[in-house]
Amino acid sequence: MEVRNPRIKSMKYEDFNDNEYIESMVRELRENGTNVVVGCLDEVIEWGRSNSLWPLTFATSCCGIEFMAVGAARYDFARFGFEVARASPRQADFIMVAGTITHKMAPVLKRLYDQMADPKYVIATGGCAISGGPFKKSYHVVDGVDKILPVDVYIPGCPPRPEAMLYGLMQLQRKVKVQRFFGDVNRQIDRKECEELLRRDLTAEKNELNVEKDANHEQ
């Protein structure tokens, strides 16, 4: 079927066609002599990271089944290096928010994200995770997971087809490959501040922290 002039607001039509805007932006940066030190080591590290993104096995609803299909025989995301789906958030590289996030689940999801080790990425899969989807008007659904987590890639669909998911995963790879130019969404505070926060966390007698005694091990 031919696509007749789709109107997509957030992206220029030309970009949609070749979809290499990330690379073209990097090229522009280089040509304009922006002071970016392109270390060879950086490049190797990012190449390594982008080809070895391990997902967290996380699924709330329908999209999760399609996510399993992406891992299964016909679509097989192991070909691209997404091989090892880890059940422990400590060892995963990205979280694929596959399915609706409800008010009850939101703190748990945030916590899962916090448990992951840097560098970490988030993919919002399906209408529900992007905007609430068909349940936007519900009293118990979060309107888009980007309200609580920084999202790297959005994969629309309800649920998205496995091909779309593979495409989205490859977009994430491209994004990781040029991460040194655009920074990574998680480093919004600098190292000193982070250490300060950590120290406060370790010494604090905050109520919220003590909750852990009952409610930990979301893994």
């Binding site: 025989a73 070909r79 691209f80 290096g81 880890r86 059940a87 370790l202 893994q219």
Partner: protein, 358 residues
Amino acid sequence: MFDFSIITSWIHGWLTSWMPLGLAVFLECVIVGVCLLLLYAVIAIVMIFMERKVCAAFQCRLGPMRVGPWGTVQVFCDVIKMLTKEIITVRHSDRFLYNLAPYIVILASVLAFACLPVSRGLEILDFNVGVFFLMAASSIGVVGILLAGWGSNNKYSLIGAMRSGAQMISYELSIGLSILTIVVLTDTMQFSEIVLRQADGWFLFKGHIPALIAFVIYLIAGNAEVNRGPFDLPEAESELTAGYHTEYSGMHFGLFYVAEFVNLFIISGVAATIFLGGWMPLHIPGWEGFNTVMDYIPGFVWFFAKAFFVVWLLMWIKWTFPRLRVDQILTLEWKYLVPIGLVNLLLMVIVVVFKLHF
């Protein structure tokens, strides 16, 4: 068969010709250590790649394809990523034990790895109680796992570690018994000697029935010892998320991951050494032409071919069988494998005493 001790003694002679003996030995130790670690890393990478491709083939998939030809560079990506990933320190954990655990596991694994005779003249740790040393060294690993479970302040980790402790200590018995069966046959505990005694036929064939039983028991117990296959309870993904290494991230987790795969190789390497003739080529009595051709193939090729064949066998088992339950694992060991192993040992003694072996 080419003897690598010619090269090593030449290096030794050359070094001692212009420097004091102590310094030369020290230098040699460093070189050997570096080579050992390099080999260890290479084996780990090959094993991980093999695991992925083999399981993909069993599962009607392709496995890694995009990075390098047939995905061969995939594991390097994983290594780079793992090295640069954050290592999380868990609050309320026992900081010292938590950080120590992965190193103990990897230490045990490297020590055991050093015992494997790769080719003639390429033995690193080779002395008269080599088998004994291997058993002792590989047992240190369970301490690391227990520490990891205890130190992480996580209930899943703790359950995983306890399961692992029960399982590994039990199955060590069966491994010991099945190796002992072969020791009875060879009357030596030195690995190089064990290999040399197999020049006229592998022990699997020489010891016929009891050796075959011992081999099967060894494969089952070995699989359990490295927490794989149907015995992967300590990290049972669907029950305990990741078992004893749930809380580990970055390279700490990487060490566990690597140790698991190299341990599998060690188990297979030992199986190849004591049952399948180690680096000895395949000889068929009477076929002189065939035997000479086989002799031209270098010893380390034979060793690795045999070891990877056993690895493949164990992977086949892992990807086919469902997981056992903890009580079934212990029943299997204490009610079946240990009694059979003991009777088998007796059988082997009878075979040796009455010279029934080939």
